[in-house]
Subunit: 323 residues, 2 copies
């Protein structure tokens, strides 16, 4: 009878970095990914290990998998890290089905699949998003009531939260809902730096930037995000359903400054061209800051500022991908 | 250029009775139904009329229909009556996909389908449910905050409401969200009286009743429900998004009393057998009453009491189905 750690979105940025934390522990890791955004190369090194099993499954459809069901039946489902989702907000703009299927339906199917294997206080950890708040003034705390997501992405994260709450209320499920800021790190699958690297690989003369460059958002390092989630998950005496804003405690960094750091590091003499519009894309929340007081009270603080994170990750990724 | 009245769930109880209200007006009715619960025989008489077009479409999948798109392109989309849904709470207990697909996905697909054909203040009318409130004490008003649906049915109605709100906020859509009580009438597709008639047709000696008979709920006549919705839809100066509890203004009728009326009318000397449990089924809200003050203020009152409605419909249906 082993402790099972079930990870959906296992081949994504957060999933693949999380597996590294568990791979040398006395647990059985079951990783699932549709490989729509996740990449096999991010988890290749773990596949040699006995305590990691990988399944390519599209969780947007009702889950039927005898092999996983047998594992869950015979062992102890300790933790479910539900990280599978569309992680690219822009993907869901032209096609509403992207976030519907890859964020909401993956959540509803995952919960209904694990439902009958829940043990006493199985932990369910979910990667939600600051996008559930939409436009909101001031520093947003977790119990902010007027949630009004402006993107399909945010809306489907919000529905997912509500569904988790619905199931947790009826079952042996302890839920940890973490609302992420922008997260970057190794094994990126999307986002501004991912885009910049793609663009500059194709064209070293001009870098077309989405929006006017004044969008300002906090960024956090995926390794700190994972450290924070594990820290909180291990806390005793928390409630049955817990919500946390997690991330760097600063006002963020402007797109304009990210561009400068990036062009400085690549050093090709590239010219950045900005757009006139404020939003980088429809559904872009151009400016937000949320309160991380709740995690501070529990004793966790992010160390790197948004600027430090951006600089670190740009340096790493340029080394790996371009130079 | 005609006024288009689009009705989803056209072959259901509410849909088919609604068509009768519009069929002699100068409008083009486009009816859609998957015929999972709806019945062709309920709309057969309308199909001879030029201003009624029927399409058998499963709205739980992304909608692609050139013929309807052409109609919407060339005419004026005046009203959308979105009545397609799983209407049978019990259906969704063993299979979470029933309400997910037939209630929530039908809503999200319908809204995204009509999105590009919206005209100035196209009206969107939705049949929601008292089940979105779950267990709640006292008389529930429309702005009751602690919604906590206990059934998949209620939860998917609630998500549908939220999605309508999301789309209405971004577009030319005026939304009317009507939270229904139990509704009965001609062209029933489910529910206690529908069940009783089926059961007694098979077995005249014994009538097995779900629950202990003390469940007490308000019932309304589908004709009054439709009258009320049309009355409110035609009111001027309402808001962009409007919520209404609609239905009979009483505390309802006990299952035990429905059984008595039914057995009295059928008059076979049938014996009723009750269960010991309070709930008729998992997800059954055994006792609720909600406030209909908001519609009273606008000038609408339901005339028949729950008991009168039950008696009337039982008499009608027995005449049509058994005797």
């Amino acid at each position: 009878m082993k402790k099972i750690i079930l990870i959906t979105g296992a081949a994504g940025m957060v999933g693949s970095n999380l597996i590294r934390k568990y791979i040398n522990q006395d647990v059985q890791i079951v990783g699932i990914d549709s490989l729509k955004l996740g990449k096999l190369k991010y988890i290749k090194s773990f596949q040699k290990k006995k305590n990691f099993l990988f399944f390519k499954i599209d969780l947007s459809k009702k889950i039927k998998n005898r092999k996983i069901e047998n594992i869950l039946k015979k062992n102890y489902l300790h933790e479910v890290w539900h990280l599978a989702a569309n992680s690219d907000i822009q993907n869901g703009i032209s096609d509403y089905e992207v976030d519907l299927k890859d964020t909401f339906l993956t959540t509803i199917n995952t919960l209904n699949f694990i439902n009958k294997y829940l043990k006493k206080n199985t932990k369910f950890i979910f990667s939600s998003s600051s996008a559930i708040y939409g436009y909101a003034k001031g520093s947003i705390s977790e119990n902010y009531k007027k949630k009004n997501p402006i993107s399909n992405y945010g809306l489907m994260k919000l529905y997912s939260e509500e569904y988790i709450e619905h199931i947790a209320n009826k079952n042996n499920l302890k839920a940890y809902i973490f609302r992420f800021p922008n997260v970057i790190g190794n094994n990126l699958t999307h986002g501004i730096i991912y885009d910049f690297i793609k663009k500059i690989s194709n064209n070293k003369k001009i870098l077309n930037v989405l929006g006017n460059g004044n969008q300002q958002k906090p960024y956090s390092d995926v390794l700190e995000i994972i450290k924070c989630m594990i820290f909180i998950k291990n806390k005793k005496f928390l409630q049955k359903i817990n919500y946390f804003n997690i991330g760097t405690n600063d006002k963020g960094i402007k797109v304009r400054d990210i561009v400068n750091i990036f062009l400085n590091e690549t050093n090709y003499g590239t010219k950045a061209i900005f757009q006139k519009k404020k939003q980088g894309w429809e559904g872009d929340v151009v400016n937000y800051s949320y309160s991380t007081k709740k995690i501070h009270k529990l004793g966790f603080r992010f160390k790197l500022s948004s600027k430090q994170v951006i600089t670190k990750i740009i340096k790493n990724l340029i080394k790996m991908n371009i130079k």
